[in-house]
Each structure stands twice: as C-alpha cells, then as structure tokens.
Symmetry: C2
Subunit: 535 residues, 2 copies
C-alpha cells in the first residue's frame, strides 16, 4: 500500500457506477495503491471518498512543476484493470463495450501526447528518404490511428523489409489473391466470385452477473449462412485490428468512434449499428477483405471454443503487413519506373484533395446537423411564437368580430412550430447518413499516406539492392518482382477505392437530395394547408 | 466671428456633399461661427478643413466635464439653416428631403433628450387624474411622436377644453361627418359615398440649381381625377402634421421613417414608395380622412399659387384637435357611464395587446429579414461550397472515370448557391411587405394611448362641470353632449381600425403565406432538377 500525497493537475470526471473517482485540478489526494495497472492509481480525496483516477492526471506534491500542457490521453477505462492484457475470452465480464483495444490505447497515449488534436493529412512521409524519420500526422480517430501507429512504431513489424528481402520462413503454398490488368493503365483485384451481404441488426442490451454488468450486442446475419451471430463493439475492434495488421496495402474503413459517454442511449446505439453496417458493407464488397479467413471467422463462428481457436490463429498469422503480398498473383510484367511514379504522384494528389474536401463537407454536415437541431429549429419556433401570440391578441373580442382571424393567425404560428420540429428531425434523415458515408471514406483517405509511404519505401529498398554489388541478379529480380507486386496491390487497391467511392457517393448524394426534396415538400405542404384557411 | 477651441464629445459623420464637417470624439476644433442657428456651429479641424457640426456635440475646452450620456439628438440638417421656419414655398431649394418638420424636430430634441430609445406603450396617462401631469411614453418614430408631442406639450392647444366648454367663436354652420349606430354596441363612421384610390408611382430623382440640389418626388394619381401630382416626402410630412393636428380623435397611420442615410439609393426610394402607398391607402379608406379638405388639396393641387393658399388655409384651420368634433353628427342618445367605461377599458386591453404583439412580430420579421440576407444565405453558400469543392476533387482524372460524378456533385454545390440567392432575395418578397403592414398598424396602435387619454380627460371635465353649481343645467347638457360626441368618435374610430386591421392583416398574412409556398416550391424544384442527374 502506497501512501503519499499528490496534487491533481487536471480535472477528471469519473464514469458513474464504476470505481472511478472524479478529481479537480488543484485538489490534494492521498494515493493508496499504485499497482492497479493500465495507468490507474487508487486514492482518497479530502472528503474521504476513495476511487481510481489516471496516474498521469496527478503529480506528487514534492514535484513542484506541473506541466502546462493539455491533459494527457486517458488510460483505458478504470474497470479494465486486472486482465485486459490476457483477455482471450469469448465474452468477458466487463460491462464496458469499448475496452478491447489495449494496444491501440497505450500506443495512442505515447504518440498523441505531443500532438493533441492534430487532424491533418500530411504527405511528408511519402517523400521522406528514410521512413524511420518520417513524421506522419495521423488522424486522431481511434480506429484509423491504430494502423498508422503500427506502421509508425515499427516498420520491421509491418514486415516490409522481411517481404522485400524474402526472409519469411513459411511461404504460402499458393497465392489466393489475383490482380489483373484491365488495360494498359488499370489494374484490378479479381472480382468477388460469390458476392454476399451481411445484415447488422437489432442491437440488444444484454447483461451479465445478475444485471451488474451490461453491454450492447449487434446481430450479424451473412447471406451465405443465414445464421445470426452476436458481436459486441469490442469484437469489431479486435477484428479491425487484425485486418489492419494483416492488410497494410489496403486502406481500411474505420469503425465508428469509441464514444464513451451516452453509449447506452438508444439513438447512439442505433446510430452505431448504422455505422457498423457501413463498415461491414465495405468489407463485404472488398475483393480481398471479403474473402479473408479472420473475417469469415468473425461472421460465422457461433461456438466459444472455435472462437478462441480462430482468434489465436489470426493473432499468430505470419502473412501480415507487407508479407500479405506473398499471397498475391500479379501481372507478370515489370512495372516501368515512370509509370509507377506518375500513377503514385497522381494518386497522392487525388487522395489528398479528396481527404481535404471530404473533411470539409463532413465539417459542414456536422455543423448543419447541429444547426438544424438548434439554430434553425429555434428560429422557426421564434417565428411561430410571434405569429401565435399575435393570433391570441386577435382573440380579444369586442364586437365579436375577430375570432376567425385569431384562429388563422395562430395556425400560422403552429405551422412554424411544426416546421421547427421538421428541422429538428431532418438532420438525422439527411445530414447524418451523409456524414456516416463521409466518415467511412475519410477514414480510408486518411490512411492512404501510410500506404503511399510503404510503396515508396519498397521502391527505395529495391534501388538500394540494385546498387548493392553483393546481391546476385537472381536475388535482385526476386526483389523487383516482390516490389512490383506490392505496387500492383497499391494500384489495385486505389482502383477499388475509387470505384467504390464513385458508386457509394453517388448513391449517398442521391439519397441526400431525395431527402432535401422531401423535407422542403413537407414544408410547402404545411404552408399550403395553412394558406387554404385564408382563401 | 467667434474664435475659441472646443473638444468633440461624440463622433459626428457629416452628410457628404453638404457643408457638414465630420468630427471625431476627442478631436480639438476651432469654432469660427456660432450664429449659424438651428444648433449648428462652424469650425475648423486640425487639418484646416472647415464645416458645420452640431453645437451639442462639442464642449468648450475650459469646460472640463464632458457628460457621460449618449449623444444628444441631432439638430435639423445643417443645410436647413436660414429659412426653414418661414418656409412657405411650393418647392424649396434645399436638397434635403427630410427637412420639413421643423416643429417636430425641435420638440423632439427637448423631449427625447431624457428618454433616448424609449419605445414602450404606456397606459399610465389614461388613468392619470390630471392630464397635465400625465407622463406619456411615446414611440420614437418621428411621425407618430409628433402627434403625441402636440398633445403632450399643450392640451389647450389640442382644443379639448375649448371644445368641451364650447369656447370656439367660429362654429361651423353644419356637420359633415356622421356616426351611426349599427346595433346597441357598435358605432360606425358613415361609409364613404364615393370610394376612390390613389396610386403612388414612379419615384423620380429631380434636381434644381443646375444639378447642385436634388430630391426625390413621388407621383400620385387619384382615381377620381386621373391627374398626376408630384409630391416630395416633405409634402407628405407637412400633410401628416396637418392631419395629426386636426384629427386628435383619429389614430393616424405613420409615414415611413425619416431615414437620413442612403435616401437616394434605389431600394430605399422604392421601399419608401411602397410605404407611402400603404399610408395613402389607409387614408383613402378612412371615412373621415379620405374626405377632408387638406387631403384633397394635397391630392389634387397642381398650381403653385393655389398650393400656397391651400397650405395657409389648412394651417389656419380652427376646427383642429378636439374642436374637429364640432363637425360630427353622432347618435342623439346619451351614453351610459358604464357602457363607456367597459368599452374603453376593453379597447385599452385590446389595443395594448395588439401593440405589443405587432411589435413582437415586427422584431421577428426584421430579424428574419436580416437573417435571410445574411445568416441563411451564408449557411447555404457554405454548404454549396463544400459540395462544389468536393466535386472539383472528383474531377482529378486518373483512369478518366469520375468526370460525370464530379459534374453532378458540383451541381449540388451550385444548387445550394442558388438557394442562398433565393434566401437573399426572399426577404424583400415576404418579410418586407409584412413588416410594412405591421409598421403602419403599429404606428396606429401606438398613438391610441393619446386618444384614450383625451377621452378620459373629457369625461373628467364633464364630471367637474356636473359638480360645479355655478354652471347652468343647459350648459351642462351642452358639455355632456359634446363629451358624448367625442366618445362616439373614439368608438367609431376603434371600430374602423379593427375592421381595417382585420381585412388588411388577413390579406397580408395570405400573401405572406403564398410567398412562403412559392419560396419553398422554388427550393423543391431546384433540388428536383439536381436529383434528376442522379437517377
């Protein structure tokens, strides 16, 4: 038992109904335990309340210089302590839906402390001579960040050098992913032979341990089995980590944000379902992702023992990162350096513009959504109230002449109040679905710099080999071939992304416009009804 | 020639192309003339520029305590000096359109200096025991204020006592205004026997003195003559003063505001024309106003000599204020004190509620008008830009696949920009006309407290007479009769006002709603057009 005084450096609001203790900057606390793990300490405040708080949020009293930085990123939820690292359960006993990504969270802490709220798209990395020196600016959304961080923290781990130099022991017996050349300049993943869909339905609040612990589970039904499986957000998160690790050359769609507060609210749960459906749809339509083993395991496994086995197998997968390219069969034609360079530079410009403008429209959409629910609703309500109270003034009868007009003017008032309600409801119908679509593609565009970097890095490695007189020409040819396969994969992935975005955005815009038409038609019809009283 | 230093206490922006000099608070000026008159001084600033500025805006340097009050009301325009008081011209030589109401302006200054920006509706006066002590809160809009001020400044001048006690020498030979009883409780002005209309058209900018002086003239064409007459705002203002003076028992519609800046701008001129048309319409439909001599003189006189004669005649009219009631033939039945009290109290409540709620809707309308032209337009533009730039990003061709979607997404952008323009234009079509109507009726409701006060005052005078044993019963009967006529006039006027407001508001609301329908239909059709591209 530790016993020493600390001063809170930042406010921390503990999650209610957990062991967390809310603390206020400047408050003195007595630390009672430091061996909680995961960045949490236990302590007492001056009122004698005991609980957990983030170690990084306090400073020993002797330590006299509190840093003037923003508060560091929170450690994983306090109620995770005591088992998260070893978690291997089909379904664990924590009531927290957002706790699975222990790796991502701890990495995030060390990485983001220097760049809070950075959210820009930088291509510096793509042009850096040495990748280990490259300084990515990554998106601060959890699921997108993770992949970047994996690459950032260790390129060796990502398998690029291993792949380029062919160091992997267990080379797969055969390739199972094919890239074909559609014409001189277009390369595509081979189409999905058996397309299928997966429905994400009925989020359910389930509880364990006699109601003490509760969580939300989503039901997934693949069209090729028709069998429903139940998955929690943390399972999606685990899956996302596996896919991101394995498919470095594929721009991964993001999962919905790891929102902490309000996660049991009906609207939040339903909205997350919609976002998960978007993610699932993207994976289902992806020629590589839709056929991979871990995804099928995720979609079909209904047995706890098999789940654990599949989970361990996926985590031990050797063909991850760049080594996944060993599974690819690409056109047997060397790529010209000039072709590569022009296509990549072109794509960098394209993706960068897309990223920036999708982000711009997302901000507009978020802004408009808020304005529909607040500003516009309020304005229409104000107008409504002004007419309504004027109508009431007309009600004052002296001579009994104005009652009809009073009713009609009041009706104008209620019409505007109904329109206020339309505005409030509208945002969920038009801006929200558009935002969900943009969110998915923005997640993808923001992970492209890493892919471009890896491609550049592989080209660089190839050139280093070509200059190295100690390497045999046979070996160099192997290196060239593998480098080309990786580049073909990037090309195929870019092509897939473009065509997906094209059709998906087209559909999203169409549905958005349709909702605009419906919304304004509704308003017209309300005014028309009211106008009839004045005819 | 005076020569002393003053410090500017407030900023004053001189009208361009006049002798006015702009001054800045804190600036030191050398006064060169103090005998300009009308509250203006002449002086030099530190740059050696010479010009006129308001005396009240500066303080002698010796005088060390500048007051911490808001700047006093401006004196009449500097270019008025030297003749305004004696003005009798058909058309004078000043280039200022707003200078006619010299009486109103000077009164306003002394009255408003204590109550800047007061704009509330007070019925205190109606209940005051002694009218000379009553403290009206009057509207700060020029044309409305004037009438209040006339009453406030001198009740004797308004002719109430003269009328009640029958002291006027030249009693008219016959009455020419009749009030009839429609049923037990309703009293009406006799209907207009020959209804007519007057079109206010084609405001023209005319100039005099070789282009040095310019003014705006409006063309008025009464339906009963078909002959166009040309009238400037100052002629309207003179007319309004005459009508207000003469018809104390009639709630006078206001003229448009005496706006100083921007009065030669096209939109301002056209809008003022619309407002003058509103005023003219109200007068034309009023059974008393529409038939009175000064109004006919104003509508028909085309000859300068006759104009001057008519003008002098109107200014010398004896049957003004309460004495106008001498022209009224009312039902020959004494009003019961209880009837009077209940009707008046009822009307006070009604008018007060109307006044307050019309004001409320006017504020909302003004607010929405501004928001259409700024906020809503800006928001729609922002949305448009976000879509448009995303469309541009789609234009980046690599494989040449996205050009169609690029065009379509850009089209969503331009659709929103077009809608932004619709918002900007809309305010002039829906909120502005509604505001004009509300402005007219708000001017009327805000002048009712004076009418109610006068009625109460006349009742009080009657009671004083009844208690006075020195007054003969014949005389008392005369007083009673005259008091009743005045009350009948108030009843008839209230009835007219209500029925006018009823039909006018109904029409205004209808047209407002119709414009809402048109506006939102426009939006729907724009979205529908754009949606077709996505089908």
């Amino acid at each position: 038992m530790a016993l020493f005084k600390v001063e809170a450096l930042y406010d921390f609001v503990g999650e209610s109904n957990t062991a967390e203790l809310s603390i206020t900057a400047g408050e003195t606390l007595t630390v009672t335990r430091v061996d909680i793990g995961e960045g949490w300490w236990e302590g007492l405040n001056s009122k004698g309340q005991s609980g957990l708080f983030p170690e990084a949020y306090v400073s020993k009293i002797e330590d006299s210089t509190p840093p003037s930085m923003p508060p560091p990123v929170l450690p994983p939820q306090a109620n995770d302590w005591g088992g998260a690292q070893q978690d291997d359960d089909w379904d664990d006993e924590w009531d927290n839906d957002d706790t699975y990504s222990e790796i991502a969270n701890t990495q995030r802490e060390s990485h983001y402390s220097n760049e809070p709220n950075q959210n820009q798209f930088s291509y510096g990395a793509a042009h850096a001579d040495n990748l280990s020196e490259s300084n990515f600016s990554v998106d601060n959304r959890g699921t997108v960040a993770k992949k970047s961080l994996n690459i950032f923290s260790s390129y060796v781990k990502s398998g690029l050098e291993s792949y380029i130099f062919g160091t992997l022991k267990d080379i797969p017996a055969h390739t199972n992913v094919r890239i074909y050349r559609e014409n001189d300049n277009i390369f595509r993943w081979e189409m999905i032979s058996n397309p299928y869909t997966v429905q994400v339905t009925s989020p359910k609040k389930a509880s364990k341990m006699g109601g003490l612990k509760s969580f939300i589970a989503y039901q997934l039904t693949p069209s090729f089995t028709g069998i429903e499986v139940s998955r929690r957000y943390k399972h999606f998160d685990w899956l996302h980590n596996r896919l991101s690790e394995k498919f470095n050359v594929i721009a991964m769609p993001p999962l919905p944000d790891k929102q902490i507060s309000g996660r049991y609210e009906e609207h939040f749960i339903e909205h997350r379902r919609v976002q998960l459906q978007e993610f699932v749809n993207y994976v289902c339509r992806h020629p590589v992702l839709s056929t991979c083993e871990v995804w099928h395991h995720f979609l079909t496994c209904t047995n706890e023992k098999q789940w654990k086995e599949g989970k361990r197998k996926a985590e031990k997968d050797q063909l991850v990162g760049a080594n996944f390219c060993l599974c690819i069969e690409a056109p047997d034609k060397d790529l010209l350096a000039s072709t590569i360079e022009s296509k990549i530079e072109n794509s960098i410009t394209y993706i960068s513009q897309m990223d920036q403008n999708i982000k711009g429209l997302m901000q507009t959409a978020a802004d408009q959504q808020k304005k529909c629910e607040n500003l516009y609703k309020r304005e229409q309500t104000k107008i409504g109230e002004s007419f309504f109270t004027l109508g009431v003034a007309f009600e004052h009868r002296e001579g009994g002449m104005f009652s009809e007009l009073a009713t009609d003017v009041k009706k104008i008032g209620t019409t505007y109040m109904e329109i206020a309600k339309l505005y409030e409801d509208q945002a969920k119908i038009d801006w929200q679905p558009l935002t969900d679509k943009l969110y998915l593609y923005r997640g993808i565009t923001s992970s492209y710099p890493d892919i471009f970097s890896m491609q550049k890095h592989s080209e660089q490695k190839k050139k280093e080999c070509e200059k190295n007189s100690q390497i045999s020409s046979v070996q160099i040819n192997e290196v060239r071939k593998r480098t080309d396969i990786l580049t073909y994969a990037v090309f195929a992935e870019l092509d897939h992304f473009r065509s997906e975005m094209n059709s998906e955005f087209k559909a999203a815009m169409k549905s958005f416009l349709q909702e605009q038409v419906n919304f304004y038609r509704n308003i017209v019809s309300k005014f028309e009804d009211t106008l009839q009283r004045f005819e």
